[in-house]
């Protein structure tokens, strides 16, 4: 393969022939002993649960009853049931709304907008806005869930008092809307900070060159800013997308209801596995969720690679 690039590589190659198969010269056994604790942790907490989930997904294991003590192997029956379940389809569709509405459109766009508007504001204004946005992010989920229930409550809710619409049951009439707005409010801070840092990477002279050419804000964003922050956009979309996809906080506000109208994927898993006690079916859905997560990550990696290949020579 590649020729040795440093004298150190030559030295390392020498003892390899005399038995020890590593640069440090420890030998296989001692090297393995050093790595073992980490491997054990990974095995116990990652590999085993994953395999266990895989196994559970093929049984009719339940939380209670006969099947709890003697689970039977049912093959792909759980998967067939889940994929044919109308509740699962609805949950998938609601999750898509949730991710696209609150992660892609909401948090990413709003986070960028806040960062863009705040980039040349005087210090105090900027710090105040950033502080408030951050506060929404760092507060514990249970606390903000309580705050939002108080805000949206039908009787004596703050929003009804502000809008003068007493008696409007926001959480019953628009459960998905509430959950999406809530998640945007809750999670925008991450995108804002990410884009704030990214915008700092756009040289002022580039923005000024666009201004001198007479570019509009949209033209400036398209020609000067976007090419510079593209990597950040991808990172933000991936992370926020995955977090949102797996987010369970909406359960604290609507509990998936009313009538399953805000039952996103994580809530569906929770209801199936723990609510209905069908652990086997829950495990099957969990595996499907993992596969969807992997698919999102793959799309991201593909996009990132395309980005690296495109601007050749541009560092």
């Amino acid at each position: 393969m590649a020729p040795p690039t440093s004298p150190r590589a030559d030295v390392a190659a020498e003892p390899a022939r005399s038995g020890a198969d590593d640069a440090a010269g420890l030998g296989r056994a001692r090297a393995a002993a050093f790595v073992a604790p980490a491997l054990v942790l990974v095995a116990v907490f990652l590999v085993f649960p994953a395999l266990w989930t895989l196994y559970l997904g093929t049984t009719d294991y339940r939380l209670t009853g006969v099947a709890a003590s003697e689970p039977r192997f049912v093959g792909t029956a759980n998967y067939r049931d889940v994929l044919g379940d109308g509740d699962f389809h609805r949950s998938l569709w609601l999750t898509a709304q949730f991710v696209i509405g609150s992660a892609v459109l909401g948090q990413t766009l709003l986070g960028f907008a806040v960062a863009w508007v705040m980039r040349d504001r005087p210090g105090p204004v900027r710090r105040l806005v950033e502080g408030l946005v951050l506060l929404a992010w760092i507060l514990p989920s249970s606390v903000i869930a309580f705050l939002w229930i108080a805000l949206l409550d039908r009787d004596g809710g703050t929003l009804n008092a502000l809008l003068g619409t007493p008696g409007t049951a926001w959480l019953l009439d628009h459960p998905m809307g509430c959950v999406i707005v809530f998640n945007v409010w809750h999670g925008t801070a991450f995108s804002m900070m990410l884009y704030g840092a990214a915008l700092g990477n756009v040289p002022p002279s580039h923005l000024e060159t666009a201004a001198l050419a007479g570019a509009s804000t949209l033209q400036t964003l398209r020609d000067v800013v976007y090419p510079r922050v593209r990597g950040h956009v991808l990172t933000s979309l991936l992370l926020v997308g995955l977090w949102t996809f797996n987010d369970f906080t909406p359960f604290l506000i609507t509990a998936g209801g009313p009538d399953g109208r805000s039952e996103i994927m994580s809530v569906y898993v929770y209801r199936t596995a723990l609510g209905d006690g069908r652990l086997g079916a829950g495990a099957a859905v969990s595996l499907i969720m993992i596969l969807i997560n992997l698919a999102i990550a793959l799309v991201y990696l593909r996009a990132l690679r395309a980005r690296r290949a495109a601007p050749a020579g541009a560092s």
């Binding site: 060159t209 007479g214 020579g313």
Partner: protein
Amino acid sequence: MAAITVRGLTKVYPGGVRALDALGLDVADGEFFALLGPSGCGKTTLLRTIAGLEAASGGTVAFDGGEVTRLPPGRRGVGMVFQDYALFPHMTVLDNIAYPLRVRRRPRADRHARAADAARLLGLAGLEARRPGELSGGQQQRVALARALVAEPRVFLLDEPLSNLDARLRLEARTRLKRLQRDLAITTVFVTHDQAEALALADRIAVMEAGRIRQLGTPEEVFRRPANVFAASFIGSTPMNLLAGTVRDGRVAVAGAELPVPDEARGRLGEGEEIVCGVRPEYLDYASEATEGAFPGIVSVVEHLGGSALVTLDGAGGAVHVVVGEGREPEPGAAGWAVPRPGRVLVYRDGELVTGGEEEETRMDTTGGRR
């Protein structure tokens, strides 16, 4: 092309820093104009205010008599080159040059044709498909020049256009820039902290300090007759000798020598006044024998400058620098005399040149600089 008129221009930054102080300036149509000064003197702020990138706190900027003070930069017809060139790394050379036309939504064929013309004008033919990261510093600078010129601006602004080039390339780029400006006859203002660059390129120079213009003139005027001690010490590769002295018996006693009062200062100096006598090392001749009206001293340092040498004489009033021609360098430790050439000695009182040259005084007044 346009003449630039600046009147009473003031820029106060938040926090109270006064970068420009009621500054006035006229740049003629087609002129190559330099703003020269140390860092923090306001020269870049002035340039950016002309471009519209900074909003003036007071005063006006006009191109050809039409006020542009409130116009956004994109509607002023200004082309500007930044110190870091500000090339877009994701665009090819041709797309970079064509960018101002693209913003104006010119048809693709038209803007590419004009960008190719601009590239050819600046010797970039054959590089159109490359990206800025694949170009040398000099080529990048020329791409930036081409992009600033492609939309045929009325005013061409350059912010330290040569400072990012290495020394050898800088001379080449300087010559090219001067030729380009002369061929296009476009009104050009450039900012530099390098006095040699300003002297070499500009038709006229404004020497700035603390938000004001301290001297305005052609390179010859600014070099030969600095209007004040600040300009005198700032201009010149070898700094001017500035020697403290007094007026005695109608003559100037300075650094162990007695010089006649220069013609222009005659009748303007009182007996016993404290003055500063300025004379450039280039305008002093070295003599190895005692000479009337020369600064005496002991040769302490001899620095070779190539075709000449800079000799430092330690004398009564401090060190005096003399430029000595090739092959006539004295030995350190020898006694020497520095003989001023006639008419080259300047007398400064309170930091300002003592002179009867009224035309220069009035020019300073109309442009709003300190008298």
